[in-house]
């Protein structure tokens, strides 16, 4: 049932605004892919293009070997879950789910008893048994979300597309549904693409994450790939936090001012560069040859994490440093920081 989705150099403009500028992406059958990016990056446009709700100006979308350009929305067999679910308010839950199967042309339509059987199977799958007769306005946000998913699955879609699936839910429900969706995907195995602006959601759920920025894909890869080996400064800053240091690379060492701060560089990129360091990769140390001196200016607590803001001479922005549990610097204390890991990008 599941198909591969191939996106080839898609371009799309709205009025004078280029929403997508040459996007290509290969999605394997049964894969769960997240389109991640800030608002305005084109991720929802890309999803709607795959669905056929928008037409590309250039490029094509293939399902397996079939060019979708010639397929009607019905022939595409897309399961689309809208951001605000778009449940039919005047129909109860069962009729909402049965809408797709009942919309098939006469000769391919299942009998009414088969449709009803399918509806109760789906209700069981999304754990909403007993709510068939409720109307959407009588359901909680999480329940609506699951009805929308059941309705999309009812047409036995070849591809499942979800637009900000958890965007309208509160934090607790979101966490629960995330795990549940992952599990559901494991069981049904649909090729699934979902859009999100929440990096945590994307990294936790998806097999692969495609990071979009300004109408282009910056990087595609597994959660570990994109987080640990960001391909561009944008990806590095967008995924998690990162301190940015202007450095100069000479040989295998990076210098901040005239002080060497990172060694063992194998990429052959001499000259000016930006060094991105995540807060957890800065450590307060005693004397070491590669260290950055600074003054603790602020201490914060964010859930389980303790964080120090350290001012470094020659740098406007204070560095965020995650503190190990046994380390307890005082405000005003002078410390030395060692960079345990960083990402270097040639200065633009």
């Amino acid at each position: 049932m599941s198909v591969a989705v191939t996106i080839e150099t898609i371009e799309k403009r709205f009025e004078n605004f280029p929403a997508l500028r040459g996007v290509s992406l290969d999605i394997q059958p049964g894969e769960l892919v997240a389109l991640l990016g800030p608002s305005g990056s084109g991720k929802t446009t890309l999803l709607r293009l795959i669905a056929g709700l928008e037409q590309a100006d250039r490029g094509r979308v293939l399902f397996g070997d079939t060019d979708t350009h010639d397929l009607s929305l019905r022939e595409r067999r897309i399961g689309f879950v809208f951001q605000h679910y778009a449940l039919f308010k005047t129909m109860n839950v069962a009729d909402n789910i049965a809408f797709g199967p009942r919309s098939r042309p006469h000769r391919e339509r299942a009998s009414e008893s088969e449709i009803r059987k399918r509806v109760s199977e789906l209700l069981e799958l999304v754990q909403l048994q007993g709510l068939e007769k409720r109307y959407p306005s009588q359901l909680s946000g999480g329940q609506r979300q699951r009805v929308a998913l059941a309705r999309a699955l009812a047409i036995e879609p070849r591809v499942l597309l979800l637009d900000e699936p958890f965007g309208a839910l509160d934090a607790r429900v979101r966490k629960d549904l995330r795990g549940w969706l992952r599990e559901l995907h494991g069981r049904t195995g649909h090729t699934t693409v979902f859009v999100t602006h929440d990096q945590e959601e994307a990294l936790e759920l998806a097999d692969r994450v495609a990071i979009l920025n300004d109408g282009r894909i910056e990087q595609v890869g597994s959660a570990d790939d994109v987080y640990d080996h960001p391909a561009t400064p944008f990806v590095c800053e967008f995924l998690g936090e990162a301190n940015k240091l202007p450095v100069k690379v000479v040989g295998s060492q990076a210098f901040f001012g005239d002080r060497p701060v990172l060694g063992g560089i194998t990429q052959n990129q001499g000259g000016a560069a930006s060094l991105y360091v995540r807060p957890q990769h800065l450590r307060i140390v005693d004397e070491t040859p590669l260290a950055l001196p600074g003054t603790v200016e602020h201490l914060r607590r964010n859930g389980p994490l303790r964080r120090a803001e350290v001012a470094v001479e020659g740098l406007k922005k204070r560095l965020d440093v995650d503190l190990a549990s046994q380390v307890a610097p005082a405000i005003g204390e002078r410390v030395r920081l060692r960079i345990t890991h960083g990402n270097l990008f040639a200065a633009a």
């Binding site: 669905a51 056929g52 709700l53 929305l73 019905r74 595409r76 067999r77 897309i78 399961g79 689309f80 809208f82 605000h84 778009a86 449940l87 039919f88 308010k89 005047t90 129909m91 809408f99 797709g100 919309s103 098939r104 109307y135 306005s137 309705r151 999309a152 009812a154 047409i155």
Partner: protein, 294 residues
């Protein structure tokens, strides 16, 4: 600033009835003004219609409304409404759909044009049809040559009524459809529904209450319209007189009781409309509220 730093004043000392802060006196005054106005300008005249209608007794009332000219006027009014209202439903839905679901050039112009019948005097609405189709009008000679009668005949009555009552359905539907957006329709399409099925199973049920209000108002106005219809009707008794025109003629001929008898029928239709609307709001209130929520 002084308010913010002033010591806390106990609520009881200021006699405020609500958080919004208007005093009890202001509230009573506002309610009284609205009630007195409604009584003086609506209830009293309406009651007088029914009192006058019954002034000469039941027999006179019956005679006034069973008289052949009155019967003809009632039939004509119902016929005009029966044609104009369905026409305006179809065109109103089409216009509302176009405005709410599509982006196109000239959309604002279309919205203003829909309001036009509300903003011009009904007399003018009637006159334009005389100008177009009357004996001296643009199409007059051609129509005469082909023996087609529009002015001073049923077609003009229907045209004038359609023109005057057009905005009701569209005006009710446009804001509602706009607030609903297009996601429901897109969802139905991705689920494989044909455009007709999307319209009849998703779009129309979503706006059915707005549509119903629009139709009620449209119908009330179609039956009650006077100005535009008066210009194009020619007031031929038994032929082109609608109920409002018939009432005016009776009144001008000093047949007050008969005029009020027919008027009470017309007012009765309006009251039925109102009662129906209130009943439906009471009976299906939750559903109406739900259909307006997202």
């Amino acid at each position: 600033m002084s308010d913010a730093t002033a010591p806390f004043v106990p609520a009881a000392s200021v006699r405020r009835s609500s958080a919004r802060g208007e005093s009890v006196g202001v509230r009573i005054a506002l309610i009284a003004v609205s009630l007195v106005f409604l009584l003086l300008f609506l209830a009293l005249p309406l009651a007088s219609v029914f009192v006058e209608a019954g002034a000469k007794g039941w027999e006179a009332y019956r005679a006034a409304i069973t008289e052949p000219d009155a019967q003809a006027a009632i039939r004509l009014t119902l016929l005009v409404a029966a044609i104009a209202v369905p026409f305006n439903i179809v065109v109103g839905i089409a216009a509302a759909w176009a405005i709410a679901k599509f982006e196109f050039r000239g959309k604002n112009l279309l919205i203003s044009l829909i309001d036009l019948p509300f903003s011009v005097s009904p007399v003018i609405s009637g006159l334009v049809f005389v100008l177009l189709f009357g004996a001296q009008g643009y199409f007059g000679p051609w129509l005469q040559a082909h023996d087609i009668k529009i002015i001073f005949a049923l077609p003009a009555l229907i045209l004038a009524t359609i023109f005057v009552t057009f905005p009701f359905v569209a005006r009710e539907l446009i804001p509602h459809m706009q607030s609903l957006g297009t996601a429901d329709e897109e969802a139905a399409l991705t689920l494989g529904a044909s455009p007709w099925r999307v319209f009849f199973r998703v779009t129309l049920p979503n706006v059915k209450w707005s549509l119903f209000y629009g139709v009620l108002l449209c119908n009330a106005r179609a039956m009650g319209e006077f100005g535009a219809v008066a210009v194009v009707s020619g007031k031929i008794r038994g032929l082109t007189n609608t109920m409002p025109l018939h009432i005016e003629i009776l009144y001008n001929e000093y047949m007050g009781a008969a005029a009020f008898a027919v008027a009470s029928l017309l007012a009765g239709l309006a009251l039925v409309t109102l009662v129906l609307k209130t009943f439906l709001e009471w009976r299906f209130g939750d559903e109406i509220a739900a259909s307006r929520r997202h």
